[in-house]
């Protein structure tokens, strides 16, 4: 089988850069890495599907390209597209909540590790590692924190109940 060397080289570069980015802590870089790895895999399918230059269903006998890998690539592209949309939403959510798009170490894991050794290692991530740098000093104050919002809603509903009860009592007195 003859494969185009250019495609192979591009695939290798995409894979290596993609894997490098996937290993980063910053979610934005992970997203870029995922896109690159996804495209590298699409190229891999294209490379293994045979010689290029022919159409899938149209042409001389024995001169048509295999349509199946093209269907694979289309499916893979759609899946990659959907997942990247979800990842973007996730990154945005993480940014609003924590003012960072980095993945922190598991706190339970750290607690488990430091229980026996007295060394308390603070493995917080330095700002250099995030796509957004240290430009913003605090989380966006207007960001919607669902947990806090729930508390607030609960308190509000309690307060409303109390007011309602007072009004009822007054009416009863009257």
């Amino acid at each position: 089988m003859n494969a185009s060397l250019t495609l192979v080289v591009i695939m290798v570069v995409l894979y290596s850069v993609g894997v490098y980015l996937l290993l980063e802590r910053s979610m934005t870089r992970v997203l870029l890495g995922f896109l690159l790895v996804g495209n590298a895999t699409n190229l891999l399918i294209l490379i293994v599907s045979g010689p290029s230059g022919a159409a899938a269903f149209f042409g001389e006998e024995d001169a048509t390209a295999d349509p199946l890998p093209q269907a694979f690539i289309l499916t893979a592209i759609v899946i990659t597209f959907g997942v990247s949309a979800f990842l973007l939403a996730l990154i945005y959510r993480s940014w609003r909540l924590a003012n960072a798009d980095v993945v922190y170490d598991d706190s339970e894991d750290l607690a488990m590790g430091s229980r026996r050794s007295s060394v308390t290692t603070d493995r917080a991530v330095d700002g250099d590692d995030t796509e957004f740098g240290t430009r913003a000093a605090a989380a966006i104050s207007t960001a919607l924190d669902l947990e806090k919002q729930e508390e607030r809603e609960e308190q509000e509903s309690l307060a409303a109940e109390r007011r309602q009860r007072e009004i009822d009592e007054k009416e009863a007195d009257a």
Binding site: V30, G38, T41, I45, R93, A98, V103, D109, M112
Partner: protein, 518 residues
């Protein structure tokens, strides 16, 4: 029968679409989800009976003949998996309905929860009936994307963090799986599993090995096999209780199912059996050592989940019909019991307000029913006779002893030690949560106990009562797990037949190509 096979996949998918259109009517959504899953459970049972009496079914979707079109294959193993997963999905759905109604739909935003849950079910069922590798990849993606949404549902900070780990690891495993499919297609020109077994056997051994290892790594990440299991205890505990329960019960088992298909049908030579056995031993031992160290029930259960994946790999690695039968039985047992334990933990979390073992105590008095609901699956998972956990392990050890190699005996030793350690870890958690007095716990505040003592306390208003429907779903799951013990003989006969069928590709190939391959 062939129409029923497609319905297993189509019904949840259509149900998801229908539920999405009813976003403002939670009751209608609940009704759709429950009825769809009940229907799939019935269809699965019908398929199981049909397959058990008449032999496996192969459906050519759209009427395209086998190597060209998409094939759905239902043999005894697939049918059994469909029935068990439909039952588990239904029970967890009922549990989450109870939780959702009680919480005012905060923890489970109803408008997307039910559609996503049904899509997850679609992916799981499709993976069990997929007859070609690319369809298997698509079904993995369906269930994974649904699980991404479910694990980050609500979008709180810890869930986003835990979800990120899960999502990135899953993305990597999917990429590896897709690359493996690309290479297999390049080498053989087909993705039909039945055809692959013939064509792959003609390849040079080293190329076979590369393809085999790539597939196993892709599936191993999903099944949480030891060196690839690091992500699981990191991400599962953060999700809402019902979501964790269904993930723990089903998603890893889909990976194990794919490993069974890979080992028995795609690469039936067993060239990696030794590796599988070693990995199985490591998964068991290291998983359970992680569990012993944990101080949170959800994390503890996540580690026992990893450790018990090792038992299934043990059955697969032995590579005999008896080993596969034992593995099949063990998968059924483990899906049920692990889900039950996570549901019971959900109840504990609700009553006690936390899942930290060190922070809980005295719950035997405040909630004796939950103590029993936790205790029965605990004994079951630890392998105490006469429960199904004991029977499954016994069958595995018997198959291992018949194999007779040194490695098999080492695994039997590991398996026995691990079941003891499982019992130790879980019994320790149980006795600390339920048995010790509440006074022994430093600064312990059980809102229920406080209400009982003082009549009213400041926290009473935030106490969430446990709805009967949640307890009911858990009781149902415990009953199912006991039923597995009571009806162990027919189930084991079924597993034995399933083991015969999947041991080697001949049966599978005959199902897909009744006239034989060209």
């Amino acid at each position: 029968m062939s129409a029923l096979t497609t319905l297993v996949v189509l019904l949840p998918l259509l149900g998801a679409a229908a539920a999405l259109t009813q976003a403002n009517r939670p009751r209608v959504q609940t009704l759709i989800a429950v009825s769809v899953l009940s229907a799939v459970l019935l269809i699965g049972a019908a398929l199981l009976v049909a397959v058990n009496t008449n032999g496996a079914i192969a459906v050519e979707v759209g009427g395209w003949p086998a190597p060209y079109g998409i094939v759905l294959v239902v043999d005894r193993l697939s049918a059994l998996m469909i029935v068990v997963s439909a039952a588990v999905l239904l029970a967890v759905l009922v549990f989450s309905v109870g939780q959702g109604l009680a919480d005012g739909d905060r923890e489970t935003p109803v408008s997307i929860y039910y559609p996503t849950y049904l899509i997850l079910a679609t992916g799981v069922f499709n993976a069990f009936v997929a007859g070609d590798l690319f369809n298997l990849y698509v079904s993995f993606e369906i269930l994974l994307v649904a699980s991404y949404v479910l694990i980050t549902v609500g979008g709180t900070k810890p869930r986003i963090r835990a979800g990120t780990v899960y999502i990135v690891v899953s993305l990597v495993s999917s990429a590896i799986f897709l690359a493996a499919i690309a290479m297999i297609y390049g080498a053989t020109g087909t993705v039909n599993i039945a055809q692959l077994t013939v064509r792959l056997a003609e390849l040079p051994a080293d190329i076979q090995l590369i393809l085999h290892v790539m597939l196993l790594i892709g599936f191993g990440i999903k099944a949480a096999v030891f060196p690839l299991s690091f992500w699981l205890p990191d991400s599962y505990p953060m999700a809402p209780a019902p979501v964790t329960a269904v993930f723990a019960g089903l998603l890893t088992k889909v990976g194990v199912y794919a490993i069974i298909r890979t080992e028995m049908i795609i690469f039936p030579d067993g060239q990696l059996n030794t590796v599988l056995l070693i990995v199985a031993a490591l998964t068991m031992v290291i998983g359970i050592l992680g569990a012993v160290a944990q101080s949170d029930i959800k994390r503890l259960l996540s580690f026992t989940l990893i450790s018990h994946i090792g038992y299934m790999l043990f059955g697969i690695g032995i590579d005999t019909a008896a080993g596969l039968a034992a593995a099949t039985f063990y998968i059924v047992h483990h899906i049920t019991v692990q889900t039950t334990l996570f549901l019971a933990t959900g109840l504990v979390e609700r009553q006690g307000g936390t899942t930290g073992i060190n922070k809980l105590g005295g719950m035997l008095k405040t909630s004796p029913l939950i103590a029993v609901l936790f205790f029965i699956p605990l004994l079951n998972l630890g392998g105490i006779p006469p429960f199904s956990g004991f029977l499954g392990k016994l069958a595995l050890f018997e198959a291992g002893a018949n194999n007779g190699s040194v490695l098999a005996w080492v695994l039997i030793g590991c398996g026995a030690a691990v079941s003891l350690l499982t019992l130790y870890a879980l019994a320790r958690a149980w006795s600390m949560i339920f048995w010790r007095d509440a006074e022994e716990v430093a600064d312990y505040e059980n809102p229920l106990a406080m209400r009982a003592e003082t009549g009213s306390s400041p926290t009473v208003e935030s106490v969430r009562t446990t709805p009967r429907i949640m307890v009911g779903a858990t009781v149902a799951m415990v009953t199912v797990s006991i039923a597995l013990t009571v009806f162990a003989t027919p189930l084991f006969d079924l597993s034995a037949n399933a083991g015969e069928n999947i041991n080697g590709p001949a049966y599978y190939v005959n199902t897909v190509f009744p006239g034989g391959l060209e």
